[in-house]
Amino acid sequence: MTFHPLKSLGLAALLAGTIALPAWAETTLTAVMQAPLRSLDPHLSTAQIVRTHGFMVFETLLGMDADYQPQPQMADYVVSDDMLTYTLTLREGLMWHDGTPVTAEDCVASLMRWSQSDGSAKTMMQYVDSIEATSERELVIHMKSPFGPLLELLAKPSPIPAFMMPKRLADTPVGEQIPEIIGSGPFKFVADDYRPGDQAVYVKNEDYVPREEPASWTAGAKVVNVDRVVWQAMPDMQTSINAIQSGDVDLIEQVTIDLLPLLAMNDEVETGILNPLGAQVTGRFNHRLPPFDDPEVRKAAMYALDQETLMQTAIGNSEYYQLCPSIYGCEVPLASDVGAEYLEGSADERMAKAQELLAASGYDGTPVLMMQPTDLTVLTTQPIVAAERMREAGFTVEVASMDWSTLQSRKNGWQPVAEGGWNYFFTYWGVAGIWNPLVHSLINGSGDDNSWAGWPVNARMEELRADYLTAGTLDEQKQIAEEIQQIAWDDSFYFNAGEFKSVAAWRTELQDIQSGPITLFWGVHK
């Protein structure tokens, strides 16, 4: 009798709760993604989860195959011999999810919008003379001067792929989110079942016509064999693992390595690496603030840090991490051993070196403010480890714990530490986001306020990055890339803390899971 008000309230809400619930289709693949999906505009966000979402719903003109080669996807392409004209022809049967056909106008508009938000696309536009639709299904890109990586950019899966969307959406100014999620991809987004931060639902796009070629990464035939894909966010890995064991979910995109033993015992669950690219953990110096405005001090810090320890603590199982000096990722075409000298020797030897360098540098004991994210598991350990090492080397270090989004916004400011500035922090990059000098944000040597946090200044670096864009052959590119890598180490742009692979876990009911630069949901059977 006391609780009448409460009860009636409750019933109402229970009913409300039911509305949000999906009606189950025949085959549903439930996946726990590495992060919850909170925003939907693939042109706006560099977050991996949004990218993955993008590849469900949207398509790119070109796809990228397992050999890092651009391949026709929405469009086939012809390049003029003078490398100044690219002609792209849309393939047959492309339809937006709202039923309208895909036109060249749409694609032009999409390219324009994309080029405003993606860093490397911006650079590209400096070389582009015009992009125009010459017919319903043909668009032509005229260049002012040759620009090597253009096709690569159109095909690249990261950080912001060149997703195509209907003109009416593409006309949404950058900064605003597109009002609805309409693409031409193999999956349709179910807006009604979308619960930001909790669940996203995709259904098979029945009208989708796959290409003929076999599927390879984002290129080739995207054949969908499940009716429905549900992304479920879970607050902690423990819950996810319980869930996959009880069969509540079919796939965990990224399992905390330490917990793999739990799944090893279970023969209904397989584990493996779906994304061969992996991600590079990077420790970034603030080149504008003392003590790290002094290259000698930075160098000392570089020696204090130690890939092995950092990775051991973060990942644990050495099967799943790789140590290499390459700033582009350990296995990409541009990978090289340049700068290996900075990683030589055991942790202790390096420490000795670090202490000696620091002593020599005349470091005045200015405390290092190290930012640590509390809510992003992959990155919580490194700052602690790094802090310990740096202290041992003779640094004064203060670890400031904050949640990831505070850290993200704080990193953009270069005011003195006292006023909320910073000296050092870690982040990680999907290799696809750094695999060549064009996309790699950390090697920007312009010192420009708008360049990515850290603001190193190095004229030579800028020349090289420019050269790279015009470089014709792969060998040229390699050569330039290596010199860049050398500078990145010598001038301590940042510390490459090693590369880790994210391990996925899936129930054995799932067959033919595709590997790719992001998690792909086509090809797989259930």
């Binding site: 409460l6 409750g10 409300a16 709760g17 560099t46 977050a47 879970m234 319980n242």
Partner: protein
């Protein structure tokens, strides 16, 4: 009675306004940038600026506040900065699970705590009393998430009686619903049981000393009647009060419980919202919970009248 009701209702207005101002300032005067949460950490500053502009985050605070309050008064809680969804819609999606959890926990609490309390008070100083007090003090002392994990460890992982996580709405059938809500409900109820059983005991102890209880006994009534008809009804008011103020405590419990059992409710929504700096969402949720708190306590004040004619007839 009516007059009393009106007064309480009007009182709620300044309270809510205070909450609104407090929350708004709290959010805006602290670091963190929603734009970043939208664009991701690899975004360039220019990109961020564009987003901030379009979100109106560059307006002066006062302007932002006035617009916000204005919208609120028209029942428009705005759109989420991050997901660009109407805030109310997002809350609506998450309300069901949370309320289900809360109500189930409440039901469990009353079923367990009231008898516990009454019994303890009746056998004051006896073994039962000690036991009840022990249980309640333990309920107070063990963090709710530990209770949660222990429950999962025992009943879900080892005995496999219940699923380890997740939520099913009542619409999917009472069976699955009950099956999945039981453990979280119990975990959440634990601290509340502790609270209510104590309050019941205390309040009953006082009432049992009253003359009219002695009168009832002097009339040779069966003990059951004396306890539940004569004593408990008089003991109700302090208990009700705690139920009301305990609502806040319940919310804190909900946040944690939802995380442990992966229930897609408001609790998790708000934590996410805070971590992502989704101002409109945070503001809306806090205001709504605050509003509910005020309403519940108002409802409870009124329910005093049901239990006590002296209030009813004033």
């Amino acid at each position: 009675m009516l007059s009393y009701f009106l007064r309480r209702l009007l009182m709620a207005i300044p309270v809510m306004f205070f909450v609104a101002v407090f929350v708004f300032l709290l959010l805006r005067l602290t670091p963190g940038d929603p734009a970043q949460a939208i664009a991701g950490d690899q975004a360039s500053l220019a990109q961020l600026e564009a987003i901030r502009e379009s979100l109106g985050l560059n307006e002066p605070l006062s302007v932002q506040f006035v617009t916000w309050i204005g919208q609120m008064l028209q029942g428009d809680f705005g759109r989420s900065l991050i997901s660009d969804r109407p805030v109310l819609e997002m809350i609506g999606q998450r309300l069901g699970p949370t309320l289900a959890l809360a109500l189930v926990a409440m039901a469990m609490t009353l079923l367990i705590a009231l008898p516990m309390g009454v019994l303890a008070a009746w056998r004051h100083g006896g073994m039962t009393d000690r036991l009840v007090m022990a249980v309640s003090v333990i309920g107070f002392s063990v963090p709710i998430f530990v209770i949660g994990y222990v429950l999962i460890g025992v009943f879900a992982v080892h005995l496999r009686w219940f699923p380890v996580q997740g939520y099913k709405a009542l619409a999917d059938g009472i069976g699955p619903f009950a099956h999945r809500i039981f453990l979280p409900g119990l975990a959440l109820a634990s601290i509340y049981i502790a609270l209510i059983s104590r309050m019941t005991r205390a309040s009953m102890l006082e009432v049992l000393r009253e003359d009219y209880v002695r009168t009832a006994r002097a009339k040779g009534l069966p003990e059951g009647l004396v306890l539940f008809r004569h004593a408990l009804r008089n003991a109700a008011i302090p208990i009700l009060t705690v139920v009301g103020t305990g609502f806040a405590m319940m919310i804190s419990g909900v946040v944690v419980t939802e995380t442990v059992f992966n229930i897609p409710g408001l609790g998790r929504l708000v934590v996410d919202a805070v971590l992502a700096r989704d101002y409109p969402l945070i503001q809306a949720i806090i205001l709504l919970t605050a509003g509910t708190y005020v309403l519940i306590n108002l409802a409870i004040d009124l329910s005093y009248a049901l239990t006590d004619p002296r209030i009813r007839y004033q």
